[in-house]
């Protein structure tokens, strides 16, 4: 009976996470357009709804009703599955992420995490790495050169940056001694001074950069950079399948924001009078804003420069960071 209850609870949580994140992804597109517009002295969407708020609904309607075009020479099943893979992997990664401190509702203690596994961090990283299958399969099945180029870039970059992100969080993990995100969160619960960002600044920078990379966001959006590869792997997609890629990207952004907040910025620990949940929301919001901000401000990086900086700068730095941490620990 207990088992069933756990399963029901998990399913409910999963549905809520998927629904909320998907909705947030939609809302994030609106925010992105607005923030970019303001930074570029524009107004952004203004016509649909008050201040263009309903634009996202209009876009949603458009995406859902748009014709789903499958190119003649594309490999149909793979082509159709690829966006689903992209979105799914993004959501699956959220299974091991705790969003808020646990709270009591109707006398029932709720852990706002779908599944607390003791290798949570590794799990999130692993599932996120599966996320490359979305662009990969999409690119390879589209029968389009731009798509293929996009896919190739996606694979190269994600594989490379997985190494960096993995190595960079190794040092914090060595300090904490656990891969569970709840443990990591609890480790920094003593206030701002306890945040890992102070103990591991280099790891923080490297992880943040790798995070930008893994979400394919500017300035590392080589995978779908219009000027070079049209829309990359998504060139041939239209309608909701294209929308799924989009949702996957925003879900990834949220995941990364949450991860950075938990690992380096104290997670959902309350700060003074501010409750932990609010702190968490603030941190995640800041990170999402940072994603947009960076997109507005910084130019795009050339793929070869990206590889160069990954293997020749970031990876050695991460290794050095681990070494130093190791020596300090001993």
């Amino acid at each position: 009976m207990f088992e069933t209850a756990v399963i029901v609870e998990t399913v409910v949580k999963a549905v809520i996470v998927v629904a909320v994140v998907a909705a947030m992804a939609g809302f994030a597109t609106f925010i992105e357009r607005k923030v970019l517009a303001f930074m570029q002295r524009r107004l952004g969407p203004m016509h649909v709804g008050p201040y263009g708020l309903l634009q996202l609904a209009a876009d949603g309607i458009k995406l859902f009703t748009k014709e789903d075009i499958i190119p003649q020479n594309a490999i149909k099943p793979i082509f159709m599955i690829a966006p689903v893979v992209a979105a799914t992997s993004a959501f699956v990664a959220m299974a091991a992420v705790p969003y808020f401190p646990e709270f009591t509702l109707f006398g029932y203690t709720i852990h706002p995490i779908i599944s607390d596994i003791n290798v949570a961090l590794l799990y999130v990283m692993g599932v996120a790495s599966v996320g490359i299958y979305g662009p990969l399969l999409a690119g390879m099945s589209s029968a389009n050169k731009w798509s293929l180029l996009g896919a190739a870039r996606a694979v190269v970059q994600m594989l490379s940056f997985e190494v960096v992100s993995g190595l960079s969080i190794l040092a914090p993990i060595m300090l904490i001694g656990s891969l569970s995100l709840i443990d990591i969160n609890d480790y920094q619960s003593g206030g701002i001074s306890n945040w890992l960002i102070w103990k591991q600044p280099l790891a923080f920078v490297l992880f943040a950069i790798a995070g930008f990379m893994e979400t394919n966001r500017a300035p590392f959006d080589t995978v779908e950079f219009e000027a070079e590869v049209v829309a990359g792997y998504a060139t041939e997609y239209s309608g909701m399948r294209w929308g799924l890629f989009f949702i996957g990207e925003y879900a990834n952004m949220i995941t990364i924001s949450v991860l950075v907040s938990i690992i380096f910025m104290g997670g959902y620990a309350p700060l003074g009078f501010i409750p932990g949940a609010v702190m968490m929301l603030l941190k995640v919001s800041f990170w999402i804003f940072l994603f947009l901000w960076v997109r507005a401000a910084w130019p795009h990086v050339r793929p070869d420069q990206l590889m160069w900086v990954c293997w020749k700068v970031m990876m050695p730095l991460a290794v050095v960071n681990i070494l130093i941490t190791g020596f300090v620990l001993i």
């Binding site: 290798v119 590794l122 799990y123 692993g126 599966v130 299958y133 390879m140 190269v156």
Partner: protein, 184 residues
């Protein structure tokens, strides 16, 4: 009960996926199915509460190795079916059936004899990761270090090979710059 259901579901999915890998003539189908199969295998680890191995399975096989396969495959036209030429179907079928039987036998005979015993039984309250670490750095220390050295050698040679042409590329760029200046 749920574990049993999960086991069968994963079994069917895994076998199905690998079936596609073997049967399909399309490289992209085979590749996607292989990646899927790898992920489903990790399901077994999770059922067995070996989360670390499960995640490693995903990271290493699906995330890294398969992606490298895929990268290699991008040099071919994966949208076209591979036309296979089999000189003698009989030999192929016979050999594959025989090897399948052999593998099943190797794996099942110990089960039949009911003499399996864990040489390093799980210890209560010791985490998955620690267990792996413990064995790796005690019994399998030498092979582990050997593997590490081999990887290092491979990495260095890889870098040497790759960096050979980098200078040329830079040189060309400089020439171009000079030409542009002269042209001005």
């Amino acid at each position: 009960m749920y574990e049993t259901v999960a086991f069968y579901i994963f079994s069917i999915l895994t076998l199905g996926m690998f079936g596609i890998v073997v049967m399909s003539k399309n490289a992209l189908y085979a590749m996607s199915a292989l990646a899927g199969g790898m992920i489903f295998i990790s399901g077994f680890f999770f059922i067995l509460d070996a989360e670390f191995l499960g995640v490693v399975q995903i990271v290493v096989y699906s995330g890294a190795i398969m992606a490298l396969y895929a990268f290699g495959m991008m040099f071919f036209d994966t949208t076209r079916d591979v036309s296979e030429k089999m000189r003698s179907k009989k030999i192929a079928y016979t050999l594959s059936i025989l090897s399948a039987i052999l593998i099943v036998a190797i794996l099942c005979i110990p089960l039949v004899s009911e003499s399996i015993e864990a040489s390093y039984p799980a210890i209560e309250n010791v985490g998955n990761i620690q267990m792996v670490g413990l064995i790796l750095f005690t019994k399998y220390l030498v092979p582990f270090e050997l593997a590490a050295i081999m990887l290092l050698v491979a990495m260095i040679s890889g870098i040497v090979l790759a960096s050979k042409k980098m200078d040329e590329h830079l040189a060309i760029e400089e020439d171009e710059c000079e030409m542009l200046k002269e042209g001005k």
